[in-house]
Structure formats: C-alpha cells, structure tokens
C-alpha cells in the first residue's frame, strides 16, 4: 500500500512530463494544457473549499481578473509578460483579501450567493468599462513567443501550467500538514466551536480565500498570454467557476489529488462533448447533469471510495447546535 501510494504519483508525474512528446498531434497537446490548467485551478479552489467547506461558485472572478490584469499590463503599459503575470496576481490577491473580509462574514448558502454575485459584477464592470478593456469585443494580447508556431506554444504552456499545478499541489499538501490547515478543518467541522477554541476563524478564512485566489489568478494570467484574446463572457463565466467545484467534488475535496483526478475526467469530457456535439450548447446540459449526479450520489468523491477513512459529510454547513439556537431564538 505504501509503495503504491508513493509509486503511483511518481509514475503519473513522469507520464505528465512526457505527455507532449507521447501524443500524435498538437491538438492533444492543447487539450492536455487545458486539462492541466483546470487541474491547477480546481486544486487551488480546494485550498478554500476542501479545507473550510465554503463553496465558491465565483472563483472565475479571480481567473478573469488575473487574465485581464496581465493582458492590460502588457497591452496598455508594455510590461514584460512575466512581470505582468506576477504583478496582476499580487493585485488580485490583495483584492481577494478585501472581498474575503466581506464574503466570509456569511456562511452556507449566502456565501455561495456572494461568490456568484462577485463574478457577475466583474463581468459587468469589464464589459462596461469599454475604454480600458475593449468591452464585449474583448482584448487582444500579443504572443510572448512570436518565433514559435501555435503548436510549440501549446507545449510551452503545457509545462507552465504543469508547474503551476505542482505549486498548487505542494501548497495544499503543506497546508494540510500545518497548524493553519488544522484550523481550517476545524472551521469545516464546526465553526462556532473552532472559534471558541481560539482558532482565529476570520483571519484563517480570509487567508485561505486569498491563497486560492492567488493561484487561480496566475492560471488566468497564463491563459491570457497563451490564448492571446480575452472574451469577458468566457473568462468571467460562472461555468469556469462551476467546473472547479465539479472537478473537486467528483474527485474528492478531502484528498490532495481529488481535484486533479476530477479535472482529468471532466476537462477531457468537456472537450470531447464540444467536438462531438459541435456548436450546440448541449455540453452545458452534460455538465449540469454530471453535477446533479455527483451531488446526489457521490458527494464525497471518487477517492473517498478507495480510502476507508470516512468521517461525516464532506461539506457540513449547519450543526445541530446552530439549529437549536435558531429554534429557540
């Protein structure tokens, strides 16, 4: 068991590194890079969702802000792309701290509402601020590697997203072993009790929120320079945010590799639906049905099936105590 738990990730890592050279065409490299991008984002999402149980459907707000921040710095100010990526990621993280202070005041369903509102609001602002962002026509970002052709660019970004995924996985692993991680888990199990035991719940929640926003915005920035054109309707879509949730839930929010596993299933499936079913929007239906099925029948994820440790539901949000208070108030 121990050899398997060490060996399998190592094997998968080697396969991932060799992937662009194993596949027969550049399209599959592109699909691979996209999958790794989603894996990195859902792992980042899980830094908040998996530890604290706070479900954010609006993390695409940070994806879009990272993308637009990077794109605007390159296009409007001529900043080199790496600097633009890092500066915008820091800016988005600071923004996430401010949003987090307001957002984590509310629990359960209200938090989800706030997260949906955040992405809708960003979408409106970016589309409305035509002079800066180009409005609904979008923003064109020049390629950072003009000498490479499209296929080679896909290979470069495959490895960049892979590095980001590694960073996100490492952070999750590190947090899961730290005192900070234990505090976040305590928040998930019973926030009031955690508070009374001296866990600085507010600061912890905001930190987790900002940390997960940081990685998602880096993914957005990389996406901006990779794709070269930003469409506000796509980068600020609730669909991207819901992909992160779906992937994490499907794989298992309590596990390091859960979101990665979910991404490996959902992202290729999404791409396949897009190609097989063409321009129709039936792929939305496929995603929606998958989400319904996961929530109804597998809320703890695939990985929970393979590990024996099971302790309660993955995302409890109302304890018996809270209910009692509600009734007696």
């Amino acid at each position: 068991m121990r050899i398997a738990s060490r060996g399998i990730p190592l094997l998968v890592a080697c396969l991932a590194l060799a992937y662009p050279w194993l596949v027969p065409n550049y399209y599959l490299v592109y699909a691979g890079a996209l999958t790794v991008m989603y894996a990195a984002m859902s792992t980042s999402w899980n830094l908040l969702g998996g530890f604290t149980g706070y479900v954010s459907l609006g993390h695409s707000a940070f994806f879009g802000l990272g993308a637009y921040g990077t794109g605007l710095l390159i296009v409007r100010l001529g900043v080199p792309w790496v600097a633009a990526l890092l500066v915008s990621a820091v800016a988005v993280t600071v923004f996430a701290v401010f949003v987090g202070v307001a957002a984590v005041r509310v629990r359960g369903a209200s938090f989800v509402i706030v997260s949906i509102a955040l992405v809708s609001m960003m979408n409106l602002v970016v589309q409305g601020w035509r002079s800066l962002t180009g409005g609904s026509t979008g923003l064109q970002v020049p390629s950072p590697f003009p000498d490479l052709h499209r296929g080679q660019t896909h290979i470069v970004f495959f490895y960049l997203f892979l590095a980001l995924l590694g960073l996100a996985l490492l952070s999750w692993w590190y947090v899961s072993r730290s005192r900070f991680g234990a505090g976040l888990r305590a928040i998930r199990e019973d926030e009031d009790k955690a508070e009374s035991l001296g866990v600085p719940t507010g600061a912890y929640k905001v930190t987790a929120f900002a940390l997960s926003a940081l990685f998602v915005s880096l993914a957005g920035g990389l996406y901006a320079v990779w794709f070269g054109s930003l469409d506000p309707i796509f980068v600020f879509s609730i669909l991207i945010g819901s992909y992160m949730v779906l992937m994490s839930l499907l794989g298992g929010v309590r596990h390091l590799f859960g979101p990665l596993l979910g991404a490996l299933i959902v992202a290729p499936a999404g791409e396949y639906f897009l190609i097989a079913l063409g321009e129709t929007q039936i792929h939305l239906t496929a995603t929606g049905l998958l989400l319904v099925l996961v929530v109804l029948f597998m809320p703890d994820g695939i990985l929970a099936r393979f590990t024996r440790r099971r302790a309660g539901p993955s995302i409890p949000d109302e304890t018996a105590e809270q209910r009692l208070q509600e009734v007696t108030r």
Partner: protein, 293 residues
C-alpha cells in the same frame, strides 16, 4: 431633470413589482426547505421559451399559455422537491442544494440553447409598443401589464398562504418543521407543494418577461444575481421582506438607469448585496426567517 427622475421612479416601481413576484418563489423555497434555488431564473426562461413557442405556433396572446405552463410548472416543482432535493442529506443541505440546483440550471440552459439556438428571441404584441403618458412620464403598456399581472399573482399567493388550509400548513412548516409534524402536518408533502407553488410563480413571471424583454438561454445568469440580491437584502425566507426589497431595488435601478446607464443600474444590485452583508447579514426587512407573511 425632475421629469427624468419621475420617469425613473415610475419605471422602477413597475419593474419592482415584477421583481417581487420573481423573488417570492425563492423565498418560498428557502422557507420550506432552507434551499437556495439557483435554477429559479432558468425555469423562468423555460417558461418564457414555452410562451414563445405557443405564441409563434398558435399565434395566440402570450397570457393564454398560462393555463398550460402554470400547472406544468407546479408539477415540475413537486417533482424537483420529491425526486432531487429531498434526497440530499440534511447536514449539508444548504451547500449541496445550491450545487444541485446549479446543475439543474445548466441542464435547462443547455437544452434551451440546443432547441432554440443562442440568439435573442422576443414576443412582441401590438400593445407592447404603446405607452401611457401622465404628466410627462411615459409608462409603457407592457410594463403596466407586467406590474398588474405580478400584483394579481402576488395577491392570490398571499390569499392562499393566509386563508387556505394548505397555506396554514405551509406557514407552519416554514416556522417550525418538527412542531408542524407533531401536530399532524405532513411536512414532506407540504414542502413539495411549496416548491410547486414557487415554480408556478416562475411560470407567470417567465410569461411576463417574454413579453417585456428579449431573451436568450444564458440570460438567466443576470437574473440569478438580481434575485439573490433582492432576497438577501430582504432577509432570506421572508416573502414580505423580498417584496419590499424588490420594489426598493427596482426603484434604485430605475433611477440609476435614467440618470447614468444600464451597466451601473445592474451593478446597484450587487452594491446593495455587499452593503447588506457588511451591515446586516440577516437582511434589512423581515428578520432572520419568515415568521409570518
């Protein structure tokens, strides 16, 4: 300037009435099941498209679709509650129900996009283009009709909730589920019917929306934001609070619409949402939960 503000105020009150109707469904779901139903606006546009189909194939007035869509949506609501929502584990109901209804919303959006394509559709009647002018203020007839239909539906809803035996059982279930069960109310069944009534209001709202605005499958996202803002400002689960917040936000939207622009008008909903959460997370009207209607 004064007439401009009056115009904004009048339009705001008219659309606020419609918002009140649309948000009342959300309050019902939250009341009976503690569920935030993200799919409500998706059902709205399902109703709008059904109205569109009835209107274009049969050429009849959109409101004649109501005898079909209202019972259909009632049955759909009962089915959604019985077959899906009721299956969720109670200890993580709020979060999981959001994800579940979110999945339903995506499913509906995808189906609508596949059947009707992603382009704008609209139902325009002869009376929709005319408007009533009182003292320099133009009131479009379609908005007036929308307001009247919304007011009538809300009045019926209130009458049902206050007068009928079913309404009493529903309110008892909302107030205290366990106690309601103790006095012999079949709360599961009542919760199902509560969902049905909620979705029936979506059928009416969707028909009205089809009449007053062009729509496409993804339009429901905008409405999720607006309606969520309304029920949070109003206080989750309170129908009265939702109605007051709906009119308030409708008026704010109308005033910003005539003085600034449409983007800022829509942004106002989110501004109010965030301000409410910072100042009074339980909402400004109606309190924590609906104790009375």
């Amino acid at each position: 300037m004064v007439s401009l503000l009056l115009q904004g105020l009048a339009l705001g009150v008219l659309t606020g009435g419609l918002y009140a109707l649309l948000a009342s469904g959300l309050s019902l779901y939250f009341g009976v099941m503690r569920v935030v139903m993200v799919a409500h606006p998706a059902f709205l546009f399902l109703a709008a498209y059904l109205t569109y189909t009835v209107h274009t194939t049969l050429g009849v007035d959109p409101f004649l679709a109501l005898p079909v869509t209202v019972p259909l949506f009632f049955a759909l609501g009962v089915a959604v509650q019985r077959l899906l929502i009721a299956r969720l584990a109670p200890d993580n109901l709020a979060m999981m129900s959001v994800l579940l209804t979110f999945g339903i919303a995506l499913t509906i959006e995808g189906l609508l996009g596949t059947i009707y394509t992603g382009s704008y559709k609209s139902v325009s009647m002869g009376y929709a283009t005319k408007s009533l002018t009182i003292g320099g203020v133009h009131l479009p007839y379609d908005k007036i009709i929308a307001f009247l239909v919304a007011a009538l539906t809300l009045a019926v809803l209130f009458a049902v909730l206050v007068k009928s035996r079913f309404g009493q059982a529903l309110r008892a279930t909302i107030q205290h589920r366990e106690a309601a069960r103790l006095v012999g109310i079949r709360t599961e069944r009542v919760a199902g019917y509560g969902f049905g009534v909620g979705l029936a209001t979506a059928a009416v709202g969707g028909t009205v929306l089809a009449l007053i605005t062009p729509f496409f499958p993804a339009s429901h996202w905008v409405w999720i934001g607006k309606l969520m803002a309304i029920i949070v400002v109003g206080g989750l689960g309170s129908v009265t609070g939702a109605a007051l917040a709906a009119v308030l936000l409708g008026v704010v939207e109308g005033l910003v619409l005539v003085t600034v622009d449409a983007t800022w008008a829509t942004t106002m909903f989110y501004v109010f949402l965030f301000l409410t959460l910072l100042a009074r997370p339980q909402g400004f009207f109606g309190g924590r939960l609906a104790h009375r209607f």
